[in-house]
Amino acid sequence: MLQLLFKNFLRSKGTKAGLLFLLIISLISLLIGRQFQQKQENNIAEAAVYQKEHIARNAAFHKDEIGLLLYYIKFSLVNKTLPINSLAIGQRDVNPSIQSVTIRGLEGQKYDSELNNPSNLLAGNIDFSFVLLYLFPLLIIAFSYNLISEEKESGTWKIVAVQSQNTFLYILKLFYVRILSLTALMTLVLLAAVLVLQIPLDKSFAVFYGITVLYILFWFGVCFFIVSLQKNSNFNAVILLTIWLFLIIILPAGINTYIINKYKVPEALELTLTQRNAYHEKWDMDKTETMEKFYKHYPQFKKYALPEKEFSWLWYYAMQQMGDDESSVQSKDLESKLEQRNRASELIAQFIPTLHTQIQLNEIAKSDLRNQLLFLKETTKFHEKLRLYFYPKIFDNAPVDKENWEKFKVETFTDATEISFLKAFLPLLLFNLLLIGFGWRNFMKTL
């Protein structure tokens, strides 16, 4: 029986075309993912070479003044890109995965954006998560919207009902055939992804796979429920597409608009202005005042007294430091606003399976807003570490050639956020159970 159902399902031209379309576009998404991966890798390699050459060249020019040298040279920090990132590119195309900073004021450098073609960003990537989120449901709908209703409309349903002992079991089998086909296709694609993108088979991947399966089941659950209402095919098609439209476009977009308007970030612009003024005004202010503030921040540098000269690097870096110190309120405000945004969206997303899936996939792939915020925090730490290392050298005017510049390699930040099975699976599981439960109840009543 099951075999026959399989044959019958796969024999249809529509099924074949649909599956083939999905397979091809999934494979294209892997190609796009691989290109993204290679681009990231090239960038990191490029950054490493660049940093080495750039430091060496500048160190050769500014042999006598380490303060001047550090005015110029940049150090890079890389936000580690996992191979699985290529399956869910998320916000990694918008935000730079490499931060290059000098030890001067950080706030003016921290938010430098990546170069981008805004048309690409608007259209969005065709990564695996897009295929999964948008296209799999469409195919699921196309495969199941007319189950039962089609047979009723063509008059064959009565024959089926008479011939099989348990019509509900028959319906379950119809769904089973479809679920199995699409899950198999998805598994095949992910296996290909493992090979092409060299994704390690670890916990992250397991959760990723689990969410993917649950998401596919969610859509079958939706179809199961709608089919259980036993309306005509046209009604089913219209209502299922409307549900899809709501979950994929209207609700996410509406919530996004809400969050953006609720947590506005004028702090960002305020921050840049404050930071600029705080540093520049020091040029025209009493030097000792600046130095007092600097010594207060770093008591360990009190031993470096201000030289009796009009200009000194000690004073210069103290001024730069003030740009950051005096804009720290705005910086913190901005940070907490962004964290609020992230929290609010994660909270709301739990109630919207499509959003939840996307956010969870991005979280696993380390391409969400949370990862970006962590990376920014790490950039601050990285910058502070460099400052603390170089400040005493600059204040002592340590000889440039005594420093081993080779050791300043590009550093990497690894986002160690643990993935929680519960947080990832629970919302989807609950939705699935509800849909199946209600669908089952409907069938029990009507069959």
Partner: protein, 483 residues
Amino acid sequence: MKLLQTEFLIARHFRNSVFKNAAIYIITIFIGLLLLYAAFSGWDNYRSQNETSEKYQHESREDWLKNPDKNPHRMAHYGNFAFRKSSSLSVFEFGMEPFFGNAIFLEAHKQNTANFSEAGFSNSMLRFGEISIAMVLQILLPLLIFFIGFNSVAYERENGTLKIFLSQGVSWKQLLTGKTLGIASVVMIIFIPTIMVLVFIWLLLQNFSISADEVIKMILFVFFHFVYLMFFCVTAVLVSASSKTSKKALVSLIGIWLIFTIILPRTTQAIGAYLYEAPSKIKFGSDIEKDILKQGDSHNPNDVHYKAIKDSLLRVYKVDSVQKLPFNYSGFIMTEGERISSNIYNQHLEELLKIYAKQNSFSKAVSFLNPYIAMKNLSMGLSNTDYDSYIDFQKQAEVYRYNMAQKMNALQVKYISNKKPGPNDKPLTIGKEHWADVEEFHYEPKGIAAIIKTEILSIISITLWIIGFFVLVLFASKKLKAV
């Protein structure tokens, strides 16, 4: 005999039958609410975007003018900001705005990136799209039209009433026109109030004082959206008329809608981005630096380019050291450095923009096959939220930056003594009255003529679609069969 009497009769009849279905009221109310939400959030967004941007533009200008006497080069590093402002139509069409950087810091020697885009501060939720009036008009209403229109003719065929129609002397042309008008009349119940609200908000935003340029943009915005929706009405009727059953008509129409609005826009842009890979910031920056070093490195005392300049200056002024030149030598060198570096930067930028243009070319070409893309591009152009507007903003900012830097260099060359102050001397300064010589940054959005020039493809595409439909309706009228 009255003109189009039969057509209007069919249209009225169809409209009445649509309103017999209770679902249509729910959908209409829902879309109405969605439109209100879109209008409200668009307004809110526009207001806060422009208020913040004006506030900080103004504040940064005040700060600039408040600077005391100082060396002009310090001022060149103090710099200015370009904050992006939205145009009034962007209340209805957000376009690429969320992906645009909102502020560029403009200083000497360095072309900074446009920072603080909404997208950079957002969760991946943003990538699902946004609710704007344009989105409702361009994506949701076409689907509604298809849902209303899929059984306009197919249902009559299934019922057998189609034969009765035709045998009573109604021609196919009359039937198709009538049904199209019927669907259109339903859609207009949503469209017309929307446009009225839209115009009202638009007038309110500008305090009822509007330029001719804005009026033309608005008229085109409304007109093309109307034409665009009519296009979907005709499609619905034609597909319905040529399908055996209403189910087939529905499935085909949903397929068309998905391909037009969801699949093609993303795929075509992805193909472009895949085939023409653009460099990342780090590559772009290091390539520029390499080229600048090739031309001449002003930091290198033995650099050939700068040594030649020095030697020629010494020769012309018949002096033996740069300290004896009658003007500020380092200001002169910086002028040269700024010229070289910004030339090279602009060359690289042009290269980059060429790659972007190639990436976008696929989408542009497909606008001939896909009226959604044509409409989207046109409406983004009209609301200054398209790719070209953004590039235009960045270019205007760069021109401003260059002029500011060179103005400061000129002040240095002219007013700053060429003799270097000793380690304990006060720094050399010029009066603060000079700061006002640099005008405030003002972004001039592209006018209608420029927009039509860049969006000419979209306009041609939509026009061709209209002509195509007239032909198709005539053709179909002869070919279609009742059974």
